[in-house]
Amino acid sequence: MSEVTAGGPPAHEGHAGPDEEPGGLTAGGQEPADPALSVAAVPHRVIGTPPPAAARTMLASEPDPQPEVQRELPADPPDLGRASKAERVVAACFIISMLAGIGFIVAYLAFQVHSVTGVLHSNLALGTAMSITFLALAVGATIWVRHLMPDVDLTEARKPMASAPADRAAFAETFTEGTEASQFVKRPLVRRTLIAATLPVALAPVLLLRDLGPLPEKSLDHTVWRQGIRLLIYGSNRPLKPADFASPGSMITVAPEGYQDNFDALAKAAVIIIKLRPEELQPPTVMNWTVDGIVAYSKICTHVGCPAALYEQTTHHILCPCHQSTFDAARGAQVIFGPATRALPQLPITTNAQGYLIAQSDFNEPVGPSYWERS
C-alpha cells in the first residue's frame, strides 16, 4: 500500500497533475465504484497505454512499476540534528500548553467569584492560564513549521482569470438558448407583468417597518415642565428653596417633580440651576425668569443632546463633555465655543407660596439638538 507516496505527484506546473490513483484510495480489492472516476482521472496521466484498472488493484501491495517521480516536498529537513532539537522544544511547548490548560480547569474550580476580589483573582488565574495555553500552542506550532518541516518554495502556474474564448462563446450560446426558450424577451407582456408583480412585494418590507415607532409630531417641541412644577434635586429628590444656596456655588441638576424616574421625560426636561451674584447676570439672560440670582437652563446640549454637565465657577462656563460646546451661564447660556449653534434654553422659574422653586411654564423654545421640523 505504498502507491500514494510512491506515485507521488510530479511538478504540477503547467499540467493538471497526476492521476489520483483511485485504486490506491479504494484499495482492499474493491473495484473502483464509479467507472467514470477512473476514466476522468486517467487522461492526463501518461501518453502510453495505462495499465488496466483490474491489474492495478491486484498488484495493490506491489511497488509501483513506474519510475519514481521526484517528490515536490522533501520528507525531512536537511539538518536532522537540529530537527531533533526542535522536536523537543515543540514537545515542551505542547506540554506547557497542556499543563496551562489543566491549570485553567483548576482555576475555574478553585476560584469563586461573587465579589470584586474574587473576580479579580479568578480573572487573573483564568486569563493567565488561557494565555499560556494558547501562546505555548502557537509558539510550538510555529517552531514545528519553521524547524521541523522541510523548507519548500513551490511555484504554481497562474492562468489569466478570463475564460477561454471558446468557453465564453459556448456559455453565450447556452445563455441565449435558455433565454430564447424562456420566451422572456419575446413576450413583453409576461416580462412586464412579472416586474409589476414584484414591485409591491419589494415595497412590503419598508411598509412593515412603519410601526417601529410613532411619528414625532410636535413632541420634540415641548417638555413636561409646566407652571407650578417644583424643581427637585436629581438623585435625592428634595425640593429646593432659594435660601438653600448659601453663596454662589456650583451647578445642581434638577428634575421636574413627578418625573424623576421617567427617562423619556428627563431626556428633554433635565435642568441645571446655578446661583450667581445677581449683578453678574447679564442679558440676554431673562431676569424675570430668575430668582435671587438663581438661573435655570436646559441641561440637554443643543449640539447633539449630551448632558452639559461641567461647570467652571470662576468663569461661569458650562461645558458639554461630549464635544466641548461651551455656554456662558451669566449671559443666557450663549455659545462661547464649540459646535453648538444655540444657547441652552432658559427655564422660567419662580417660587411658590411655600418658598420652593417652581417652574413658571415650559421652556419657550424646543430644547436639545436641532431637527428639521424645528423652526
Binding site: 500500500m1 507516496t5 489520483e20 490513483e21 490506491g24 475555574y108 469563586q112 467569584v113 461573587h114 470584586v116 479568578s122 480573572n123 483564568l126 486569563g127 488561557m130 494558547f134 500552542l137 502557537a138 506550532a141 513549521v145 518554495d153 511555484t155 504554481e156 482569470m161 417601529l212 415607532g213 410613532p214 414625532p216 441638576t253 424616574d261 427617562f263 423619556d264 428627563l266 431626556a267 428633554k268 433635565a270 441641561k299 440637554i300 449640539h303 447633539v304 443632546g305 449630551c306 454637565a309 463633555p321 461630549c322 464635544h323 466641548q324 460646546s325 461651551t326 455659545v335 465655543f337 464649540g338 459646535p339 453648538a340 449653534t341 436639545g368 439638538p369 428639521w372 421640523e373 423652526s375
Partner: protein, 563 residues
C-alpha cells in the same frame, strides 16, 4: 503505514461517496505566498471568529431588556440601585459567572482588534495595489465589511446600557435628527418613540447578534472564496511574476502556520484581557439621560466621527421654517462619505487614469506607485487628524495645551496636514526609487576602501544579490495613454482623450506616472549582467497590452538621478 491505512479506510469511504481525491489533491497543493503583511487580514478573520465564540458565551446570560429592576447582586457598590435588566445582567456576567469577565473583556478587545486589523489590512491592500484587476470586487466587499464592523461595534457597546454607552446612543440620536427632512422620523423609528424609550436595546441586540454578524459571515465567506479562487497576490521577488504564484502548499505548511497564528491572536487577546481592563461598566454606573462623566471616549474606531463633530464650526440654517443643522449633519456624514466613496471608486478611477487594464498579481512596492501611495497617506492623515481631535480633551490634559486651541489647530490641520502628507509621501517615494536605482547601478557599499596604484582612493561595492535585484527591479513601466493633443496638429485625438475630460485624464495620467525614470538616464546601466529571464519577467513586459518604451522616460526631467 498508518497514513496509508487512514487514507484507504476513511478516505476511501468518503471518496466512494463524494469523489474528492482530485479536488482535495489540488486543494492540498494550493500555493500560498508568504509575507508578514498577508497576516493582517488573518488577524481580522481570527478576531471575528473569537468574537463569535465569546459573543455566544455572553448571550447565555445577557438580558437584552430595558425593564427597570433594583439591583441586589454581588457588586455591593450598586446594591439597591435601579437599573435596566441589560445592565444588571452585564454586572452578573462580570461578577457572578466564572470566566464571564474574561470573556467580556476578550470580546471587547477582540472587537477593537477586529476593526484595527481591518483598517491596517485595507491600507496594505491599497498601498500594494492589491485591489487592482481582478480583485476590485473583493475590495468593495472588504469596504462593506469594514462599514458593517463599525456599526456592529457601535451596537455592541451600546448593549450593556451603562452611562458611557448611553452617551454614544444619545449622540447617535442627535446625529440622526440632524438629517434634513427625514431625520426626526428616523430617530423615532429607531428608538421606538421618544429617546431613550424601551426598545433600543432589544433592537440593537438582534442586529448585533444575528443580522450584522450573519452579513459579515456571508461576506467573509465570499471574500475568502474569491481570494482562494483568484489565488493570493505575491510580493515581488525572484521568479515571481503575474503568471505564477510562489510559496508553500496549503497542506501542511499553510494550515500549520495559520493554525499557529490563530492561537497567537487568541493568546494576544487573552493576555490583553487578563491584564488590561476594558469597559468597566460598573464604574460608569447605569444609564440615565441626565448624567455623564468627563472624558467620555468612544472606542477608538468611532473616534474620527467624534473628532469631526468636535471640530465643526457652529453652522446652522433656518429656511422656510425648517432647521438644517450643518454643525452635526456635515461632520456626521462627510468624512466617512469622502473616505468610503473615495476608497470604493479608486480601483476604477486608477485604471481609467493609467490606462492599465491588465491583471496584476504581483504587489506594487508602495514607493513604486508614488501618487497612489501619496493619496493613501492623504486619507490616513485626514483620518488621523479627525481621530486625534476625537481625543483632544485627553491631549489637552496630558500636554497642557488649552482645550480650545487643540480644536482651532484641528480645524486648520484637517486641511493642511493631508496636503502636506501628499507632498511629503511623494517626495519620500521618489527618493526611495532613486535609492533603489542607485543600488542597482552602483551596488552595495562594502565599507572597503582601496587605494589604486595611482594613489586614488575608491570605495569597493558589490552587486546586489539576485533576490534583492528582483525586488529592486519590480517596478513596472507606466503604460502610455494616447496623447490628448497630437503634436503634429493634424491627427485627431484618440477617442476618450478628447475635450475637457480627455485633457483631465491626460493631466491626471502625468501626475499618476510621476516616477524616477527606470533607466536612470543612461541606458540599461544596472551595473550587473542582465538578459536573464527572471528579470525581464520582473520588468513586466505587458503580456496583454504592448508597453510603450517611450513613456518610461516620461517624467520631470529634473528628476533624473545623479549619475
Amino acid at each position: 503505514m498508518s497514513v496509508d491505512r487512514a487514507l484507504g479506510g476513511v478516505g476511501g469511504w468518503l471518496d466512494d461517496r463524494f469523489r474528492g481525491a482530485r479536488g482535495f489533491r489540488t486543494l492540498f497543493r494550493k500555493i500560498f505566498p508568504d509575507h508578514w503583511s498577508f497576516l493582517l487580514g488573518e488577524i481580522a478573520l481570527y478576531s471575528f471568529i473569537i468574537l463569535l465564540l465569546t459573543g455566544t458565551f455572553l448571550t447565555l446570560w445577557f438580558q437584552p431588556s430595558m425593564t427597570e429592576i433594583t439591583y441586589h447582586g454581588s457588586y455591593l457598590h450598586l446594591d439597591g440601585v435601579k437599573m435596566s435588566e441589560a445592565y444588571a445582567s452585564t454586572l452578573n456576567i462580570s461578577f457572578d459567572v466564572r470566566g464571564g469577565l474574561l470573556m467580556r473583556q476578550i470580546h471587547h478587545w477582540a472587537a477593537d482588534l477586529f476593526v484595527a486589523a481591518i483598517l491596517v489590512h485595507m491600507l496594505r491592500i491599497f498601498f500594494t495595489g492589491a485591489f487592482r484587476k481582478p480583485r476590485e470586487i473583493n475590495w468593495l466587499i472588504g469596504l462593506t465589511m469594514f462599514t458593517l464592523a463599525l456599526i456592529e461595534g457601535l451596537f455592541g457597546y451600546s448593549l450593556p446600557d451603562d452611562l458611557l454607552s448611553g452617551a454614544g446612543l444619545r449622540i447617535t440620536e442627535g446625529v440622526l435628527q440632524s438629517i434634513p427632512v427625514v431625520g426626526t422620523y428616523l430617530a423615532f423609528f429607531l428608538f421606538g418613540g421618544p429617546y431613550p424609550g424601551h426598545d433600543i436595546i432589544p433592537r440593537f441586540y438582534i442586529l448585533h447578534v444575528l443580522v450584522i454578524p450573519g452579513l459579515i459571515l456571508a461576506l467573509v465567506s465570499v471574500h475568502l472564496f474569491l481570494m482562494f479562487h483568484q489565488k493570493h497576490t505575491q510580493m515581488p521577488g525572484k521568479g515571481r511574476t503575474d503568471q505564477n504564484v510562489v510559496g508553500a502548499p496549503l497542506y501542511p505548511y499553510f494550515l500549520a502556520k495559520t493554525g499557529a497564528f490563530f492561537f497567537f491572536t487568541f493568546a494576544a487577546l487573552a493576555i490583553t484581557s487578563t491584564f488590561a481592563q476594558i469597559n468597566p461598566i460598573w464604574l460608569y454606573g447605569p444609564y440615565n439621560p441626565v448624567g455623564i462623566s468627563a472624558g467620555s471616549q468612544p472606542d477608538f474606531y468611532v473616534g474620527f466621527l467624534e473628532g469631526s463633530l468636535r471640530m465643526m464650526p457652529a453652522w446652522q440654517t433656518v429656511i422656510f421654517g425648517h432647521t438644517i443643522a450643518w454643525n452635526v449633519f456635515i461632520p456626521g456624514l462627510v468624512p466617512l462619505g469622502i473616505i468610503m466613496t473615495g476608497a470604493a471608486l479608486w480601483p476604477f478611477l486608477e485604471p481609467w487614469i493609467t490606462g492599465d487594464h491588465r491583471e496584476h498579481h504581483v504587489c506594487d512596492r508602495p514607493r513604486n506607485a508614488p501618487t497612489r501611495t501619496a493619496i493613501g497617506m492623504t486619507a490616513v492623515a485626514f483620518y488621523g487628524v479627525l481621530w486625534l481631535e476625537g481625543a483632544n480633551d485627553v491631549i489637552a490634559d496630558h500636554f497642557d495645551i488649552p482645550l480650545y486651541t487643540t480644536t482651532v489647530i484641528a480645524r486648520y490641520a484637517v486641511f493642511v496636514v493631508p496636503i502636506a502628507a501628499y507632498i511629503i509621501t511623494k517626495r519620500i517615494c521618489l527618493g526611495l526609487q532613486r535609492k533603489d536605482l542607485h543600488l542597482l547601478e552602483h551596488g552595495v557599499e562594502t565599507g572597503i576602501i582601496r587605494q589604486l596604484p595611482s594613489g586614488e582612493f575608491i570605495e569597493e561595492t558589490r552587486p546586489v544579490s539576485e533576490d534583492a535585484r528582483a525586488v529592486l527591479m519590480s517596478r513596472q513601466p507606466a503604460l502610455s495613454l494616447p496623447p490628448a493633443e497630437p503634436d503634429d496638429g493634424e491627427n485627431v485625438p484618440a477617442p476618450g482623450m478628447r475635450g475637457a475630460i480627455g485633457k483631465t485624464r491626460s493631466r491626471l495620467n502625468q501626475i499618476m506616472n510621476e516616477s524616477v525614470p527606470m533607466d536612470g538616464g543612461h541606458g540599461n546601466g544596472y551595473g550587473a549582467p542582465h538578459g536573464d529571464g527572471h528579470d525581464t519577467a520582473a520588468l513586466g513586459d505587458g503580456h496583454e497590452q504592448p508597453v510603450s518604451a517611450a513613456v518610461v522616460a516620461d517624467g520631470d526631467p529634473d528628476e533624473h538621478p545623479r549619475s
